[in-house]
């Protein structure tokens, strides 16, 4: 399904491409295909995959089915960081460096990391370590990141920087090109690979800290390492696309509902669903209206009802 969506994504958009023109060697078609469509599809597929994997890590490590990069404030932290990158990176006069790494990416990562550290520090106030505390801590961090974002927007140049920041907040794969994705996607896939290698440890962290420790797990260090990897993944994606909601929350649940376990294959399936959701949402974003719509509208339309379903299912279990 992901392959079908990916192929479809290569040919859908403002500038219509056809296989016949590509085979005929039409230079303009090839340029659009290689610089815009391929990179956009790669971010849709791999970015969605990474968000799905990151969601699996967050939910398992926090032992909370509602934990996701969005809910614990990582995405909004990354967005605030990216906005700072747009403002101060421009001031530094550097936009793109080695492998396409940009100040925006670096600031987005720093923002996301800061959010995780803050959310974890706040959740430690509750010594009982209740699952709900991390969600509440995330809401607080999310609000704080939004406040920072508002302050940054107030200082932004309304004609240039503010537009870029707004574009970020809406979340879109529009504007992604082959020059900007290489570094982010390489780093993102390295993190994904590392998370797969550490899958067994992720599962061990799903237990209470004392129980995990008695199975030989150094829970504190391992949790920090995994959250760093997951945060880096999310940062790599959102630094290119802006805020994308619900992908990390919904797709791990879909995978678990189908497999009824949490094996590496389930985590992989969650990633595949993530890739499908983001690619499908991106196809809709550029095809349902005359102007391109933000991709988060469609990930939200699919994700929000599923979140409600999870809440209802949770209540029925009680």
């Amino acid at each position: 399904m992901l392959v079908v969506l990916a192929v479809f994504s290569l040919f859908v958009g403002k500038y219509p491409l056809s296989m016949r023109e590509l085979l005929a060697g039409n230079e303009l078609h090839w340029r659009v295909f290689l610089t815009l469509r391929v990179s956009r599809t790669v971010v849709g597929v791999l970015g969605g995959f990474a968000l799905g994997i990151a969601g699996f890590v967050f939910q398992t490590v926090f032992r909370n089915p509602l934990a996701s990069p969005d809910i614990i404030g990582v995405s909004s932290g990354a967005s605030a960081g990216a906005a700072a990158g747009i403002l101060f990176g421009a001031g530094l006069g550097i936009t793109t460096g080695w492998l396409g790494f940009s100040w925006v990416t670096a600031f987005a990562f720093a923002g996301a990391l800061l959010s995780v550290i803050l959310a974890m520090a706040l959740s430690m106030i509750d010594r009982n370590g209740r699952n709900s505390t991390i969600v509440l801590a995330g809401i607080a961090v999310h609000s704080l990141a939004q406040t920072v974002l508002m302050c940054l927007k107030l200082t932004a140049d309304p004609e240039k920087e503010l537009a870029s920041i707004e574009y970020w907040i809406m979340g879109s794969l529009n504007g992604i090109n082959s020059h900007s994705i290489l570094g982010n996607m390489i780093l993102c896939m390295i993190c994904v690979g590392a998370v797969f290698l550490l899958h067994r440890q992720i599962i061990l962290l799903s237990m209470e800290e004392g129980e995990a420790r008695m199975l030989g797990v150094n829970a504190g260090k391992l949790r920090l390492l995994l959250l760093l990897l997951a945060t880096l993944m999310v940062s790599c994606v959102v630094s290119l696309s802006g805020l994308i909601s619900f992908v990390g929350l919904v797709t791990p649940h879909l995978a678990r509902m189908l497999t009824k376990n949490s094996r590496a294959s389930t985590m992989f399936l969650g990633g595949i669903f993530g890739g499908c959701l983001l690619t499908f949402s991106d196809i809709l974003a550029r095809s349902v209206a005359k102007t391109e719509l933000p991709v988060s509208i469609f990930t939200g339309i699919i994700g929000a009802p599923f979140l409600i379903y999870l809440i209802v299912r949770g209540r029925q279990k009680i």
């Binding site: 799903s206 209470e208 008695m214 030989g216 150094n218 009824k260």
Partner: protein
């Protein structure tokens, strides 16, 4: 030399002493039971031995080179020596029964290693032993509370540690499985030359399966008994400290084995 020794163990939190200056020793192959009323400090005591809770005092275990202080060990080193069954496992994700049992291999594996074929086969064997044959692929969350506890026992047996610490493992089991669990535990101690310390809720189980019993009250050991040797009258006197008036009787079951039965006598008003 004792196999496992606790010296002057003291635990407290929130300005309150929960376990106060407890010392005892366990011999190799011995099943030591802890009996006490709710809130007497049994769980806190076991968690302190596991180093989950900070404490004063010392826990030592016999190794080839002499006694090793458990407090000085890393999480992995400790898990190779000791395993722990909590009252309820905190597993809250969808996970297969086999994967839960294979968690017991973690102390022997490197961080990136995966359980091998032999470990998987051993896990299936252990599941048969504990009474969960053919449930390898079943979702752990769909098991009954009793089956979950048996699955965690299987994980502990898979861990193959030299000291097993169990916190009321029988609390969610029905009568038949309570006895089954203690039978498995005794058998595994004999086969593996390991020892166990088990906090029990049910005095009948404790009296009939444990080699030695420690009676806990308000965080202290108020009595010690060896059910196979001590007279019922002597044990009654000790048990009264935690249960009030009780009487003990020895009965023969149909197989001709003697069993101790405790009856609660009316309290004097």
């Amino acid at each position: 030399m004792s196999y496992f020794k606790v010296t002057d163990l003291t635990v407290g939190y929130g300005g309150k002493m929960i376990v106060n200056d407890v010392s005892f020793a366990v011999e190799r192959g011995e099943l030591t039971g802890i009996l006490g009323a709710n809130g007497s400090g049994k769980t806190t005591f076991l968690k302190a031995i596991c180093n989950i809770l900070p404490h004063e005092g010392m826990c030592e275990m016999h190794k080839a080179q002499g006694m090793t202080k458990l407090e000085s060990l890393s999480a992995k080193e400790l898990a190779r020596l000791c395993s722990y069954i909590p009252q309820r496992s905190g597993i809250s994700i969808d996970i297969s029964v086999l994967d839960v049992v294979l968690m017991g291999c973690n102390p022997k594996l490197g961080i990136l290693e995966r359980p091998n074929k032999e470990m998987r086969e051993r896990a299936s064997e252990i599941l048969k032993i504990v009474g969960l044959p053919g449930k390898e692929e079943m979702n752990y969350q769909f098991l009954s509370e009793g089956q979950k506890q048996l699955c965690i026992l299987a994980r502990t047996l898979m861990q193959d540690a030299k000291l097993l610490l169990l916190d009321e493992p029988e609390s969610s089991l029905d009568l038949r499985y309570r006895y089954h669990m203690l039978e498995i535990l005794r058998k595994s101690l004999k086969e593996g030359e390991s020892s166990a310390v088990v906090a029990l809720h049910d005095p009948a189980l404790a009296l009939n399966y444990c080699d030695r019993l420690l009676l806990f009250s308000e965080g202290r050991i108020v009595g010690e008994m060896i059910p196979a040797k001590d007279s019922p009258e002597e044990m009654e006197r000790k048990l009264m400290q935690i249960y009030g008036p009780v009487s003990l009787h020895r009965y023969e079951d149909r197989a001709g084995h003697t069993q101790l039965v405790m009856i609660k006598e009316p309290e004097e008003l």
